[in-house]
Symmetry: D3
Subunit: 233 residues, 6 copies
Amino acid sequence: MANDIQARLPAIGTPTLSSQLIKHGLRQSYLSGPRRLIGEKTVCGPAFTLRFVPARDDKAVPASYGWPGALPAAIDAAPPGSIVVIDARGHPAAGTVGDIFADRLRLKGVKAIVSDGVVRDLPGLRQVGLAIWASGTASPPSIGGLSFAGWGEPIGCGDAAIWPGDLIVADEDGVLVVPPELAEAVAIGGEKQNRFELWVQKRVAAGAQLVGLYPANETTLAEFDADDAARTA
Amino acid sequence: MANDIQARLPAIGTPTLSSQLIKHGLRQSYLSGPRRLIGEKTVCGPAFTLRFVPARDDKAVPASYGWPGALPAAIDAAPPGSIVVIDARGHPAAGTVGDIFADRLRLKGVKAIVSDGVVRDLPGLRQVGLAIWASGTASPPSIGGLSFAGWGEPIGCGDAAIWPGDLIVADEDGVLVVPPELAEAVAIGGEKQNRFELWVQKRVAAGAQLVGLYPANETTLAEFDADDAARTA
Amino acid sequence: MANDIQARLPAIGTPTLSSQLIKHGLRQSYLSGPRRLIGEKTVCGPAFTLRFVPARDDKAVPASYGWPGALPAAIDAAPPGSIVVIDARGHPAAGTVGDIFADRLRLKGVKAIVSDGVVRDLPGLRQVGLAIWASGTASPPSIGGLSFAGWGEPIGCGDAAIWPGDLIVADEDGVLVVPPELAEAVAIGGEKQNRFELWVQKRVAAGAQLVGLYPANETTLAEFDADDAARTA
Amino acid sequence: MANDIQARLPAIGTPTLSSQLIKHGLRQSYLSGPRRLIGEKTVCGPAFTLRFVPARDDKAVPASYGWPGALPAAIDAAPPGSIVVIDARGHPAAGTVGDIFADRLRLKGVKAIVSDGVVRDLPGLRQVGLAIWASGTASPPSIGGLSFAGWGEPIGCGDAAIWPGDLIVADEDGVLVVPPELAEAVAIGGEKQNRFELWVQKRVAAGAQLVGLYPANETTLAEFDADDAARTA
Amino acid sequence: MANDIQARLPAIGTPTLSSQLIKHGLRQSYLSGPRRLIGEKTVCGPAFTLRFVPARDDKAVPASYGWPGALPAAIDAAPPGSIVVIDARGHPAAGTVGDIFADRLRLKGVKAIVSDGVVRDLPGLRQVGLAIWASGTASPPSIGGLSFAGWGEPIGCGDAAIWPGDLIVADEDGVLVVPPELAEAVAIGGEKQNRFELWVQKRVAAGAQLVGLYPANETTLAEFDADDAARTA
Amino acid sequence: MANDIQARLPAIGTPTLSSQLIKHGLRQSYLSGPRRLIGEKTVCGPAFTLRFVPARDDKAVPASYGWPGALPAAIDAAPPGSIVVIDARGHPAAGTVGDIFADRLRLKGVKAIVSDGVVRDLPGLRQVGLAIWASGTASPPSIGGLSFAGWGEPIGCGDAAIWPGDLIVADEDGVLVVPPELAEAVAIGGEKQNRFELWVQKRVAAGAQLVGLYPANETTLAEFDADDAARTA
C-alpha cells in the first residue's frame, strides 16, 4: 500500500494535497523556500533527513568530514526510494550538495533532494540529473557557512517540521510533507477534490458564476455527488 | 481618452514611466515584489482591488467563502478590462489565486492579476493563460495563511498604495501604479523621454561619452530639441 | 601573468575556487545576492567599483548627475577589461543600470556588470548583451532609492568586501572576489582539485562509497597522487 | 457579562489565555511585534481598528487629513472603553500616533493603543499616560511612510487578524486577540489552568520532577481535580 | 549662526523637525535603526562620518589597524563638536566602538556617536558617558564582521544618506539628518509648529474634537495666527 | 581546572573573550540574538542543549509532552551547574520557557537559560529569578510555533553552533560559546588583554592619541610588556 500511495499522491498534486491536509488540521505542511531547480516530474517518497547547524571554524573544516557520523557517511546511508531532505537553516551561501554527492545519491536510487538552503555547481548537477528542490544556488561549499550535525533526526526545513519517514511530495508548486498515517485519507479526499474541480472548471468555462459553485453550497455539492456517482458507477 | 491612455502607457514601458512619475514627485509608485510569471505582453488597466489579512483559524476555513462579501463574490464582481490587484501582505505560502478563479476572471475580460503574494497550481494557471505578476508560487490555498477582508478598497501591494481605479502598467521589469489624473502628463513626458533616449543611444553607439549627454546638459538638450522638432515636423 | 590568471580562473569555476579560498582562510569571498541575468560565459577581470548610498531627496534628483564626480563620469572612466561592481546596498527597487549605461560600458570594453541591487529595462539590456549579475530587475531609476556616492573605493557588495582591482570571477553559481595576491595559489590548487574531482566522479560512477573517498583519506590521496603524476607526466 | 469578561480576562494573563485559545484551535491570536511602551496595567477591551497603507506622495500630504473619513475623524470616532488597534503594516519609521492624538483618545475614554508600527514623541506620550503597545518609536509622522486608508474594518496587526469588536488583552508579555464568542469558554478554562499551575508550582518548589506532573498525566490530573474540588467547595 | 542653529534644533525635537523636513520635500531624513543607548540629552552637531564594509579575512585582522588611514587615525581626526556617524551596514554582531575609542572621542570634544550597527562593552561605555545612539550591543569587535573603509565620505546609516557636515539631531525618538542649507528654514518652521501644537493641546484638553483643529483648517489657522501674533507681540 | 576556568572567564568579559577567540580563528562564537532579560551577573558553565523544530499540528499538541523523550524529561535531565541553551530557530512568538520550567531548572542548580527565541510570562520568570538571555518575550507556549525535537545534540542558537559541553559565557553584551579545549589559552590571552586595555585607558585619559597606541605598535607593546612585567613581578 505504501508504494501505491507513493504513486497516487503525485497524481493528485501538491495544491490539492495541501487543501486536504488543512482539512485534517495540518496548517504547516508546506516547505516555504525550496523550489524546483532540476527535474520535471512530481516525486513522492519517504524523507531521509540531514541536519546542519551554523558553521564554527573549529568544526567546519575539510577534516570534519572524516568522522564516522559525518556527511559522507550520511550520503552513503541514504536508502533507495527515499527523498533526502536537508535542514540547511535557510543559509543562502553554503552549498550543501554538489555533483559528486548528487551522483552518489542518484546511483543509490534516491528519488530527489530537497533543501531549504542552496546547492552548488548547477551545471554539474544538471548533468547528474537527480531531481532537486532548493532555494537557489551558490558557489561555496557547506563548510563555508554550515557544520554537519547528524542524520535521521527530526528537522526543520522551510518552516515545516519533517520527521524521518514522513512522505514528501514535490512538484512545480513546491514541496509538502504528509504524515504517513494521514496519507490514505488525504489521497481519497484529494482524488475526489480533483474530480470536483474538473467538474467546476467546465461550469466556469460555460459562464457560471463562482458564488455558490466554488466553494460549493449544498445544492452544488448534491449535483456534483450525483454526477460523480453516475460517472464512477 | 482613458482607452487611448491605456494604449499609450504600455508602449512607453515601466522604466520610462517610473522616471516620469518621479519627476512629478511620486517616489513610491513601483510595486516591489510582483514579477511576471505568466504572459508576454505589457498590460494596462484600472485596478480592481482585493484585500487579505492574516489567517485566523475561526475565519480562514472553507466555510468562510460562503458569505455574500466573500472572495467568490469579489471574483464575480471584477469588471471587464480591469487588472485585479491583490494585497496578500506579501505572504510567501498562501496562494490567493488558482486556476478556477483565474479562468473565471479571464472569461470576464479581466486583463491580468497582480499580487504581492503567491499563486498556486502554476501548470493550471499556464493553461488558463491569464497574465499574472506575483512574487512566486506555492501549494497551499489562501486559507493556509490569509483571510479575505474585502474588495474595492485602498490597499498596499508590494510597498505601494493602490486606490481602486488607479491605472496599473505591468511589463517584464515589474508593475507600476499611475494616478489617473497624472496619466496624460506622464504619457506626454514619457514619449518624449523615449525619443530622447533613442537619440542618445545612437550617439553612445557612435562612441560619445556620457558626461553632458546623459543626463543631458543644456547644449545637448538644445541639440535634441532641434532634431526632435525637425523629425516630428 | 595577470591575463593568464584571468583565463585560468574561469576555467576552474567558482565552486572550486570558493573551496580553495576557504583553504586560504577567506570565508567571505562569495557575493551573496547577485545571480546571472544576462550572458552565458564565465567572466573574470579586475573590479572597478561604484558606490551608492540611500536616496536623499535633495541629492537624488536628475540634476545630481551633473557634477564632475557623478555617475556618468564614473561610467566614462571604467577601464577596458574590467568588471563594474556596484554597491547598491541591496536595494530591491532602484535600478542602477539601464541600457544606455550598459551599452557605453560594453563599447568601452568592460566585461560585465555585477550588482547587489537591481537593473532596469531588461529587454533593452538583453539587446545590449553585456553580461550582468544582479539580484533582479525593477522599473525605477537609481534616484528612486539611491544616491551615487563615488567610484574606485572599497565597497560592500552582496555581503562581501571588494577593493578596487580585486579579481572578480562570475559564473552560473554566482560571483566570487579573489585577492590578486592569492590568485596564483588559488589557481594551482583549484586545477588540482578539479582533476581530483573528475577522478572521484569516475569512482562514484563505478559504485564506490563516499566515506574515505570524498573527502579523501590518506590512502585515497596517495592513489590519486600516483594516478595524477602518471597522467601529467 | 461583557464587562465581567473584560475584568476576568486581564486577571488570567495573556500566557494562559494564549494556551486556552490554542486548545480551541486558534493558533494565530498573538500579535507578534507590539510590546508594552507605556503603562503598567493589563488592559482588556473591544478593538476599534485603524488601517494604513504604504505612503503615496499624492496622498500622504498634510492636506490628506482634511477629508471626512480621514485620520482625525477616526480618532474623534473612537468609542469609550475601546482599544485602538492600528494596522501600520509594521512600518519602522512612520509614527502613526503622537501626543495630541493620544490625549484626545485618553479624554474620550479609550483604554489603550496597540500598533504593529511605531509611535512618535515618546516623552510627550509619557506625559499623556495612555497605555501603548507598539513596536518602538520614531520621529517621522505617519505621512512619512504611510497613508490612512480607513477605520472599522478587519485589519492585520502583528501577523494576527483583528475584526472590529474582537476583544484585545494586553500585558507585559504582549497582545492577544480573543473572539468574543470564545471569551467565556476561554475565561473558564484559563481560570482553572491558573489554579492548576499554582498547584504545580508548589510541587515543583518541593522538588517534584516534571515528567508526569507538567503537563499532567491522568494520575496528576485526578489529584489536582480532587484538591481543586475540595478548595472551591 | 551655525552655533545658534545647533542650540535651536534640539529644543524643537526630532518629531517636529521631521515634519518640517517633509514639508521641504525630504522624506528620508530619519535614521531608522539607531536608538538611544547612553545619554539623556538631545544633541546636535555636524556629522563626522566613518565607513565600514563587510569583513574580509585578509583585511579584517588586528594588523589592519596599522595603516595611516585606518580606524585609529579616523578616531584621532574627529573634530570637537562633531557627531561621529558610523555606516556599519546594520551589522548586528560587530561592535565598531568600545570604551577606549569612546573615551578618546569624549576627550576630543565629540558630542555623540551614532551607528546603524552595534557597540560593545556596554558597562565600559556607560562609565565613559559619551552619548550613543546605536541598534544595540554585542561582544565581538568590528573585525568580527566588518572592515574599516574610510572616513569623511558620504555614507548610508539606518537607510538615510549622510554627507560630511550635515547636521545631526538625536533625541529619545531617534536620529535625524538636516541639510545645513535647510536648517534655518526648518528651525523657523519648527518653532512655529511647536507653538501651534501647544495651542492645540490646550484645546484638546478642553474637549475639542480633532476634525478641523489638527491638522488645522483655515478657520483654525486664522485663530492660531491671531493668538500667536498677540502672544509674540 | 574546569571550575577554575568557569570563574576566570566571566571576570574577563565577553568583549575581550570574543577578541581572543578571533585570534584563534573562531569568527562565529557570538550568539547574535539573545540579550539579557533577567539577572545582573555574568555567568559561565557547560551547555546543556535543547532543540526545537517548527510546529506541526499533529506533533505540537499538549499530548506531545507525554513521551519519554519530551521536553519535561529534558528539563528534569538538566545537570547542576549547566547552562540550558535552546535552539528555538529564532521564533518570535513561541515561548519555550515559562515560570514552572524555569523554577524546576533553578532548583536543579542550573545557572542560566539562553535561547534564540522568546520566553513567556516575564513577571513569573522575574519571580523565579533564574538568569535568562533570550530575544524577547511573548505570550504563546512553545506548541504555538515549535515542536520539541530532542536534547543533548549539536544545535544552532543565534547563528552560532553549540555542541553539548561547550562553555557558555553570558553578560550584558551578550552570549559567547567557548570550545573547552581553547578555554585556558583564551583565558590567559584575555587576562593579559584586559591588563593592556587598562594601561591604554590611562594613556588615553592623559590625552594620548590612538595611532600607534591602540592597537599597539611594537614600541607600545614593548613599553606595556615592561610595565606589565614590573607590576606582576
